[in-house]
């Protein structure tokens, strides 16, 4: 299998799906002429032409609404947000229109639409450009939320998202675009709602997604040196959660750490923990530990940014806490 970067894996998924189905098209800021702010749409304008790869003005609310309308008419738009921070400008279109149209129209209109782009903190982009949006979008009925952690997952998951007949929030990560791994060639699908065990273990389950899985992997290697056998679980789809997989893992390890880049309060990680407490109470040997972003706006200073975000050390500390190692 060829080693390719996350951006290239996403590009392959887009290209293959656009080739497979001519109803699929891309729109967003700088997706065409500039080949995308992070080069995910590289070469697509040349290949598919300006009718299917559309540069929009800086008008998230406008082009997201336009995509909802196109989806209602039977097209399959892929909206690129240059950053999910900018999706906040379009949030009414996303939540009130994209997510609710199927219900509001009495089932007349599906919205087969993907909204994708980088989510979470980039390097030193400060408090307005570091938002983690998964907890917000997962909150509202009507949206699927996906967040791949590896290039191979990213390709299969984006293809599943594009083929889904309902709106999907597809969260990438700026710092992970150059993550390089083996990616299978050709067509394959990773179904929505299907998580993955990234590392088999027996002592503690660390649940993490997106870039946090990379941190968790490093933490697991460190902990292995100390004799702690960590299982890494990537839910991949954050809504709906793969509870059967989580149950299988928790029944084995009895201890859980949930890692997320977003803030602690009222978050998706809290939801994961709640689902485990409700369904798997009798299998827990310790309270679930959560590693999250601290409760403050993201600072610009590099040292404070690092202190605000989850880290390998914080994950290690949490894993030791739930296994009563310190």
């Amino acid at each position: 299998m060829p080693m390719i970067e996350m951006r290239e894996a996403l590009n392959q998924a887009l290209k293959e799906e656009m080739t497979r189905d001519e109803k699929v098209f891309i729109l967003g800021e700088e997706v065409a002429e500039f080949n995308g702010a992070y080069k995910v749409t590289k070469g697509l304008l040349d290949h598919f032409g300006p009718k299917r790869v559309i540069d929009t003005p800086i008008s998230e609310s406008g082009f997201t609404g336009l995509a909802v309308g196109a989806a209602m008419m039977g097209l399959r738009p892929v909206v690129e947000f240059m950053s999910f921070n900018f999706s906040l400008v379009a949030i009414d279109q996303i939540i009130s229109n994209a997510a609710k149209m199927y219900y509001m129209s009495g089932g007349l209109y599906n919205i087969p639409m993907v909204m994708r782009g980088p989510n979470g903190a980039g390097p030193r982009v400060s408090s307005q450009h570091s938002h983690n949006m998964e907890s917000v979008y997962a909150h509202f009925p009507g949206l699927h939320v996906m967040a791949p952690s590896t290039p191979a997952d990213a390709k299969g998951m984006l293809k599943a998202a594009i083929r889904c007949n309902d709106p999907v929030i597809f969260l990438e990560n700026e710092l992970a675009y150059n993550l390089k791994e083996e990616v299978p060639e050709g067509d394959y699908i990773i179904p929505i709602g299907k998580g993955d065990i990234k590392r088999q273990g027996t002592d503690v389950t660390i649940i993490a997604w997106s870039r946090m899985m990379s941190l968790a992997k490093t933490a697991a290697e460190e902990l292995a040196k100390e004799g702690l056998n960590v299982e890494l679980l990537d839910p991949r789809t954050l809504k709906p959660l793969d509870m059967p997989l989580i149950a299988e893992s928790v029944k084995k390890t009895n201890r859980v750490v949930v890692v997320e880049e977003g803030h602690y309060f009222s978050s998706l990680g809290a939801q994961v923990a709640e689902s485990i407490y409700t369904d798997l109470f009798d299998y827990l040997d310790s309270p679930i530990a959560r590693v999250c972003q601290s409760e403050n706006p993201m600072p610009y200073a590099a040292n404070l940014e690092a202190a605000t975000l989850p880290s390998v050390e914080k994950i290690i500390r949490a894993a030791k806490q739930v296994t009563y190692r310190n």
Binding site: N254, T278, D279, D282, Y283, L284, D285, S286, Y324
Partner: protein
Amino acid sequence: MPTSMLMPSLSPTMEEGVLAKWLVKEGDFVKPGTMLCSVETDKTTVDYESLDEGFLRKIIVPGGSPAKVNQLIAVLTDEKDEDITAYLEKALKKSQDMVASKSGAKAAPAPVAVSNGSGPSSASYAPARAATVAAPEPVAHGGASDGRVKASPLARKMAEDAGIALQGLAGSGPNGRVIRRDIENYKPEPKATPGAGKTGAAKADGPVQRPLFGSLAPIAPTVDTPINMMRKTIGKRLLESTQGTPTFYVTMKVAMAAVNTLRAQLNRSPGYKISVNDIITKATAFALREFPSVNSSYHGDFIRQNANIDICVAVSIDGGLITPIVRDADQKGLGLISTEIKQLVSKAKAGKLAPDEYQGGTFTISNLGMYGVDEFTAIINPPQAAILAVGGIQQECYLQDGVAKERDVMKLTLTSDHRVIDGALAAQFLAGLKSLLENPMWLML
């Protein structure tokens, strides 16, 4: 030879009782079965029955006075005017020590009147329920001061599965929380009680026990176990029932597909684990509403048709069985019935049922289905007029329009007291119960 009589513990929460009234006087001769005194506990007033024979030599606690559990209340002697001066001094000291240790350790063994005699003839004053506590159990007693044991949910479940009492276990987690490794590393305290060695040894190997068969099983020694109060009570009541009740039996087969489906649907709701037995309990209560004369009791010169439908559920416990009660089962939802039964069973197994949780009741269900029993007959629990014996769910082949098909069935056997219930009524009741179980959605009505 003098024998001490101590204040018994008549409920799990009892620490002190009032010796309401002596029913015998100093110098009276008492024998097993003689009512000695009435004791008021925090829950009820109970008559204290003698198990020994002898003269009531001295009353230590007079009528109307309070006494701590295990406090010396009287002395019994073989001779009417035996000298007990020396004995009394020692006995008082011993009783003080026992009272002190009782208040120190919550899970003290059954408060038993100490007899100086040895051998099987020296029966002890253990009330029926407390007898289970006296049975050998690998329990590490400790001093959880507020009685609340902190344990992880997993440790709690593992302890329950392995029959290990959490009370007194030293937890190695934060704030003394009992966690998985504490259960895994658990070693039962060695005890001198006969039988304890066997149970203890088996449990020391690990929390999960597997039965050993054939030559692998250790050869059990001959053991004479004195008959405790519980076995005596079981023996007396059931002998009375079999010898004094004209009983007859009616068996009916019930198709279980609908119950299985309903159960699967209900158990998809998180937090509930409804058992077949819970559904049978609910359906039986419904059927009793429809046939109230089955919900009757026989009192010699009258038959009482009971207004309440209080269903006793037979529970096998260490050293015997007990029938805790789901009160007003006809008015409770399946969820509540299920929760109550679970609580009652775990209290029963821990010997912690209060008298009002197992005394009374208007109808009994005994279920041996989980042991793979096809069908059986149960003995009526007097003064109740009937008891339902529930067999296991089996697969069978049957013919439908000439085609062989497979289905799950369960056999119910009703034992009835013919003085109260006639054959036709028993059959109608069972048929009603059968149709409820085959159409369990009716239980929602």
